[in-house]
């Protein structure tokens, strides 16, 4: 056990911090996750990621031949922590960086890695995820978007839904049914689709936050080259799960929780109840302490998994709880903040009287979305029980 970073790592941390202090304010990006997402915002968000990449702060652990720096995971975790500390927005290329990239590194052909990975890093190509369908949510493997093989191509017909960022994405990693006769898990393939192809229609959906963050995507005879298949034909389910593993770890990340707790504590200090700050209220103190304990547990839990990663150990049951615990904790933090604001939590985020710059009404809703996205808490519990505890399948 040694919780110290090396002097080189500490120096690196300060360098990242300085870079963010000097460059983030001029990036023209709002704090938070989504923003307005108009064309100008997309351009600024891409420019910001490119700038970070050129400074050497994007996907540090990726292999050098695909534009990474082959650094150990500690450096990446330092960058992640500093990004959270600086309240930097999520990178626009997050799906490519956090989900497709690691999947391609394990499962992609050499040609695919060379073709796609460098442009993920520079934000030249933005990716979206084509998983859920109107009839296939938690039961993802029942998906029906069809891809028929015609010559050297797949011809894709069907529909995806809840597709975040589809409106500005260049590419989609997509699950399609290539063998309708096979058992449902054995007829799925994982393919990469150019979003500018003829036959694709993207229709925005309005989220409960009021934002247009996700979309429906329709495929009408969309032609996709056969070389865009990742993994083997009809064996896409294994590849899909690799991506889901990366997605769940990304959604349940611990560093944001600590920042949110600090913000909640500051809020509770500023709110007065019966002439005293809310932090003096014995009941609310209990609630704050409980939240801080859970945040601390997840922080050390992340360090434990970082250590396993450094030592090259395979993740076990302890990693299966990240998404469940992390996203529910974030939602609980936001819910406590809403309660702390008292009757002011009746206000929408854009009312001029709203407290704490309107951060919490949005965060409160958005954090519930993340309890759902990537597999709801109920599905996470099934996974923990069936894959982690080997309890018998019910299906």
């Amino acid at each position: 056990m040694d919780l110290n970073f090396t002097p080189e790592e500490e120096e690196f941390r300060l360098k990242v911090r300085r870079f963010l202090e000097e460059n983030l304010p001029n990036a023209g990006l709002n704090e938070g996750r989504e923003g307005t997402q108009d064309r100008k915002w997309v351009d600024r968000a891409k420019a910001w990621q490119r700038k970070l990449y050129e400074a050497g702060y994007v996907a540090l652990a990726w292999p050098k031949e695909y534009g990474g720096q082959a650094m150990d995971p500690v450096r990446q975790s330092i960058v992640n922590d500093e990004m959270v500390r600086a309240r930097a927005p999520y990178l626009i290329g997050g799906s490519g960086l956090g989900m497709l990239g690691p999947t391609l590194i394990s499962w992609g052909t050499e040609e695919q890695k060379k073709r796609y990975l460098p442009k993920i890093l520079t934000a030249e190509e933005i990716w979206c995820q084509g998983y859920s369908e109107p009839g296939s949510g938690s039961d993802l493997a029942s998906l029906r978007t069809r891809a028929e093989i015609v010559g050297d191509e797949f011809v894709v017909n069907g529909q995806k839904v809840w597709t975040s960022g589809a409106q500005y994405s260049d590419m989609m990693f997509c699950l399609v049914r290539t063998d309708p006769e096979a058992p449902k898990h054995r007829g799925i393939s994982y393919i990469l689709i150019d979003m500018h192809s003829p036959g694709i229609t993207v229709r925005p959906l309005v989220q409960m936050t009021g934002d247009r963050g996700f979309n429906e995507v329709f495929f009408d005879n969309v032609h996709v080259p056969r070389k865009n298949l990742v993994g083997k034909l009809n064996e896409g389910w294994i590849v899909a799960n690799a991506t889901l593993f990366h997605e769940r770890n990304m959604l349940g990340s611990a560093s944001g929780s600590e920042q949110r707790f600090n913000r909640l504590l500051a809020l509770a200090r500023s709110v007065r109840r019966d002439g005293r700050p809310l932090t003096a209220d014995p009941v609310f103190r209990q609630r704050l302490a409980d939240l801080e304990i859970r945040v601390a547990a997840m922080k050390y839990h992340a360090l434990r998994q970082l250590t396993d990663q450094i030592r090259g150990r395979n993740p076990g049951i302890e990693s299966m709880i990240n998404k469940l615990v992390g996203t529910e904790l974030n939602h609980d933090l936001a819910t406590a903040a809403m309660e702390a604001m008292g009757d002011y939590s009746m206000l929408a985020r854009d009312d001029e009287n709203v407290l704490d710059k309107g951060y919490w009404p949005y965060e409160w809703m958005f954090s519930l979305g993340l309890v759902i996205g990537g597999g709801t808490s109920h599905i996470q519990k099934n996974i923990i029980a069936e894959r982690g505890l080997k309890m018998p399948k019910s299906r």
Partner: protein, 358 residues
């Protein structure tokens, strides 16, 4: 950056699991539960041969000189086995107090025999001042103090209120008329608590009572949290194993989502709590400024989730879980002991708030 158990600690854990599975099955635990003194002398003799009692005692006093994370690993495995007897109170809390606050004379007299398994110590300490004895001019007084395993102890490390509310930590030798020990009926029969009356009992004071009192509370909190971690893991294992063999509606009950979710929720409580405990145990040795707050976090969280986990694990067993014959109630009751001893989760949450300057 290296957060986790070392190779040696993992080996210690594996060998402790193997040893206790063989030597301390629930049949042995039940033997101790039925015994008047509530312990297993043969098991303790074997543990002494393995060097467990002196695990954290410096080598010059006959111990192995290891750290508190090593101790936490051992306590976790003892919690997994619901191991009876005074080990946690003697070899973790009392030993640490002597290491920190005892003179060389005291260490030679009490610590060395403790490390060798020839003497048993315990602690008379509570998180609340009005549950403590009082100290004045080298003597300890106080009636109705609850002390784990006082019935087996050669000496008691007593936390007392001194003059002016100052905390004093002193050693009192058991076995005299000045230390009256009455056995009590215990809810958790894997542990024994006695009621002790001190009547002007001769006492040798340890150094820096105020700091040592806090240290004993922190060490006790982490020790209990470690025991809780192991106990919770055992309750989960038992409930999951049972759910795979018990059939209703024509299939194993573990195939129903209601039980899967109950089990998964225990895992979701357990694994982050394990990381929290490792940090708290490490902080006791290496991060003095953070140790108290980390200990309070670990005690609050581990005891809360242990109680909830065993409660759910009993429920997952259905009717058989409510019987005396089935073993699950051993951990259900041990969780209650752990939650009550040295401060409730609410007490420790307030401590987290206080030390955090909310």
């Amino acid at each position: 950056m290296d957060f986790g158990l070392s190779e040696e600690q993992q080996q210690l854990k594996a060998s402790a699991r193997e040893f206790l599975t063989a030597e301390c099955p629930t049949s042995a635990v039940r033997k101790a539960m039925a015994a008047e003194d509530g312990t297993l002398p043969e098991l303790y003799a074997q543990m002494a041969a393995l060097g467990w009692p002196g695990l954290i005692v410096p080598e010059e006093f006959g111990g192995a000189g290891l750290g508190f994370l090593d101790m936490a690993v051992l306590l976790e495995e003892q919690g997994y086995a619901a191991m009876p007897g005074p080990f946690l109170f003697s070899s973790a809390i009392a030993a640490d107090a002597l290491i920190r606050g005892g003179s060389d004379d005291i260490k030679r007299k009490w610590l060395r025999p403790l490390a060798e398994g020839k003497a048993v110590g315990t602690v008379a300490i509570a998180e609340s001042g009005d549950r403590l004895a009082t100290a004045s001019s080298g003597a300890i007084s106080g009636a109705g103090i609850l002390v784990p395993y006082a019935n087996l102890a050669d000496f008691i490390v007593v936390a007392a209120q001194g003059p002016g509310g100052r905390k004093s930590i002193a050693i009192v030798e058991a076995g005299s008329d000045a230390v009256r020990i009455r056995p009590l009926k215990n809810l958790d029969l894997t542990r024994r608590v006695a009621m002790v009356d001190f009547r002007d009992a001769a006492a040798v004071e340890l150094d820096d009572g105020e700091a040592l009192y806090r240290r004993m509370l922190d060490v006790g909190a982490v020790a209990i949290a470690a025991d809780s971690l192991g106990g919770m893991e055992r309750a989960l294992d038992m409930a999951v194993d049972y759910s795979k063999v018990r059939e209703q509606f024509g299939k194993p009950i573990g195939s129903f989502q209601a039980l899967k979710h109950a089990a998964a929720e225990i895992v979701a409580d357990l694994e982050p709590a394990r990381s929290l405990l490792w940090f708290a145990a490490y902080a006791l040795d290496a991060l003095p400024a953070e140790a108290s707050r980390a200990a309070a976090m670990a005690k609050a969280r581990l005891c809360e989730v242990y109680s909830r986990g065993t409660d759910r694990a009993v429920l997952m067993h259905g009717g058989i879980g409510f019987t005396w014959e089935h073993d699950i109630h051993l951990w259900f009751k041990r969780a209650r002991f752990n939650e009550s001893y040295l401060g409730s989760p609410a007490f420790h949450r307030e401590r987290v708030a206080d030390l955090g300057g909310y």
